[in-house]
């Protein structure tokens, strides 16, 4: 019999990617004031995958977020999908943290939790760096199975183990430009997933009600033993010097209700030497 699997899912609150977004004029961090804030879309696939894995074999699914106080709203929303609990790392000194220091904080928080597997989205819709899983792997000394479009956990080594981690292997189809790689690593491990991996569920009314009473615990920098000066804008490893909107494209020619539109298109392409 396979043992239960405890999973931590990394969740990030981001500005809605379907609306205009900008950097704050004062400190060039992501503007969280002007637009709607939502759960990073790819993270929903990570949550779904965690729920799928724990459905049969048992185990806890815990969400972990780093973000300002208002990120709690998105955590509550994410809990509606069916995770058991959440941990929110929040501290004013974290504002403006770069990816390198974000990984430092998340790694420290993960060390305070018990898990066999960490799952996250392959990238966030705001930063889109896609480096966090690799950074956490390096900091925690665990393998990273990145960019998965399919994930399976095998108890190939010792099925009678107490915890899933002992002797358990994770195997993914890692999406590549030309197809995929079959990649495997022993647990504990971190897995990042693309939106090709599953179809996230819509919470039922019962799920939504149940999420209201699920525990969200908070951690601050002092809890993690990290100095304020080492994170946030003060500790950032890179700095934004300038951020400007992309210049608009020049208005083009629009053809409407023209029976020769297809021919005119080819004529246009010819003038630009594209055919």
């Amino acid at each position: 019999m396979s043992g239960p699997l405890n999973v931590v899912v990394l969740v990030k609150q981001v500005p809605d990617s379907g609306a205009p977004r900008s950097l704050s004029a004062t400190d060039a961090t992501v503007d969280r004031e002007s637009g709607d804030l939502v759960v990073n879309e790819m993270d929903e696939y990570a949550i779904e995958e965690a729920l799928r894995l724990t459905k049969d074999r048992g185990g806890q699914v815990t969400l972990l977020t780093m973000g300002p106080v208002q990120a709690a709203q998105s955590i509550r929303k994410a809990l509606q999908m069916g995770a058991d609990a959440a941990v929110h790392i929040t501290d004013e000194a974290l504002h403006g943290s770069c990816a390198v220091k974000t990984s430092l904080v998340l790694a420290a928080a993960l060390r305070t939790l018990e898990w066999d597997l960490v799952i996250c989205g392959a990238e966030s819709t705001d930063g889109q760096l896609a480096v966090l899983p690799a950074m956490l792997s390096q900091r925690l000394g665990i393998p990273a199975l990145t960019g998965a479009r399919k994930l399976a956990i095998d108890d190939s080594v010792d099925g009678a183990a107490e915890t899933a981690s002992a002797g358990c292997v994770g195997r993914i189809e890692r999406q590549t430009e030309t197809g995929y790689q079959l990649v495997q690593a022993e647990l504990p491990a971190i897995v990042s997933v693309w939106d090709t991996i599953n179809e996230p569920r819509y919470p039922t009314f019962r799920d939504i009600m149940a999420a209201k009473s699920k525990p969200i615990s908070t951690l601050c920098l002092a809890d993690l033993g990290i100095a304020s000066s080492d994170v946030g804008a003060a500790g950032a490893t890179s700095r934004v010097d300038e951020a400007v909107p992309r210049p608009p494209r020049q208005a083009g020619v629009i053809v409407e209700g023209d029976e020769r539109a297809g021919t005119k298109l080819v004529e246009f392409l010819a003038t630009r030497r594209l055919v």
Partner: protein, 330 residues
């Protein structure tokens, strides 16, 4: 100050250089003297060295080790961390591919350095240009800690004004002790069991095609995409699709262009039946020429069209195909 060295991680597969390598070298030359870091398997031949020579590379640092092809990103990150400690380069450049970004992330932790990803331009001071928020904001940043690491978006870098002189590079072999990296042996390694190439047909790769014909929900059916394929073939292009089309099962997911799909920057992008959500524009708005065919005049994609047709793609495209054949006949 003397010109400082810049480490460039050579992108190669199946014994040939990837196009990205030339772009990385161009970006590196703006910062200092590029040193090509070539990671390969022990049975590798000298063909890549000659190819690097053609790109004007003077110095190659080569590691030949079975681990290079066996694990994802970790051997490359450790090899680069070893070289950073040994050579104190001004910067490290990798391609902003999935592998490249993973290597960059690991290297940043191993060397306690800052990194910038998806860089589209670099100046001599090391300031990097990035396009964020679906390409709507252009940001200039620099690394403030450690040895700057840049993951460069290939295809974005303008080619050298002067074609570099071919050279015969000096090759220096190096080794890395993978078991004592000071982190935790080799616990981070994820093993590649198999590499599977999926059939993609005869069309050019979406990512570096000069022409992309893309369809959205307005194409209506999988059969409708056959018309787009004919159009793409007539133009020597690739076929792309919006998320609405791939989610709706009209076209395979791997051809999705946009925020959660591929980012393309072709000479010509023809958007057919695509409304132009911000997430789609994220993947194509740097195309040189944009053509739009859509029956809804209010579709936001018309805002970025160089040539827009309000009309039914099922009549416009067949007519364009006839016109193309006539031109070819002249």
């Amino acid at each position: 100050m003397a010109a400082s060295s810049v480490l460039v991680l050579v992108e190669h597969a199946a014994g040939t250089l990837n196009k990205a390598t030339a772009d990385l070298l161009t970006a590196a030359r703006g910062l200092g003297e590029p040193i090509a870091v070539l990671l390969d398997t022990p049975d590798a031949d000298e063909a890549l060295i000659a190819e690097l020579g053609k790109l004007g590379v003077d110095a190659v640092l080569r590691l030949r080790h079975p681990r290079v092809a066996k694990y994802v990103a970790t051997p490359a990150a450790k090899a680069l961390a070893h070289l950073v400690a040994q050579r104190q380069p001004a910067a490290v450049l990798v391609a902003a591919t999935a592998d490249g970004k993973e290597i960059a992330g690991r290297l940043a932790v191993l060397t306690e350095s800052g990194l910038l990803t998806d860089v589209t331009d670099l100046n001599s001071e090391g300031a990097a240009v990035q396009e964020i928020f679906a390409g709507s904001t252009i940001v200039r940043s620099h690394v403030t800690v450690g040895t700057p690491i840049y993951a460069v978006r290939t295809g974005a870098i303008s080619p050298d004004a002067i074609t570099p002189q071919p050279t015969t590079p000096t090759v220096e072999e190096f080794t890395v002790d993978f078991s004592t990296d000071g982190v935790s042996h080799t616990l981070e390694d994820a093993q590649i069991l198999e590499e599977v190439v999926e059939p993609k047909g005869s069309r050019p790769d979406l990512a570096d095609a000069a022409v992309v014909v893309a369809g959205g929900r307005g194409v209506g059916s999988a059969a409708g995409f056959e018309l787009l394929e004919q159009f793409a073939d007539a133009l020597g292009g690739a076929v792309g699709a919006s998320r609405a089309a791939t989610d709706g099962g009209l076209y395979p997911h791997q051809f999705q262009v946009g925020q959660t799909g591929k980012t393309v920057s072709p000479q010509l992008y023809i958007a057919c039946g695509i409304s132009g959500a911000i997430q789609h524009r994220a993947g194509m708005q740097t195309a040189h020429t944009i053509v739009v065919i859509n029956s809804d005049p209010n579709s936001p994609i018309f805002e970025i069209a160089d040539f827009g047709i309000v009309g039914d793609l099922h009549t416009v495209i067949p007519q364009a195909l006839v016109a193309l054949r006539e031109r070819a006949g002249h």
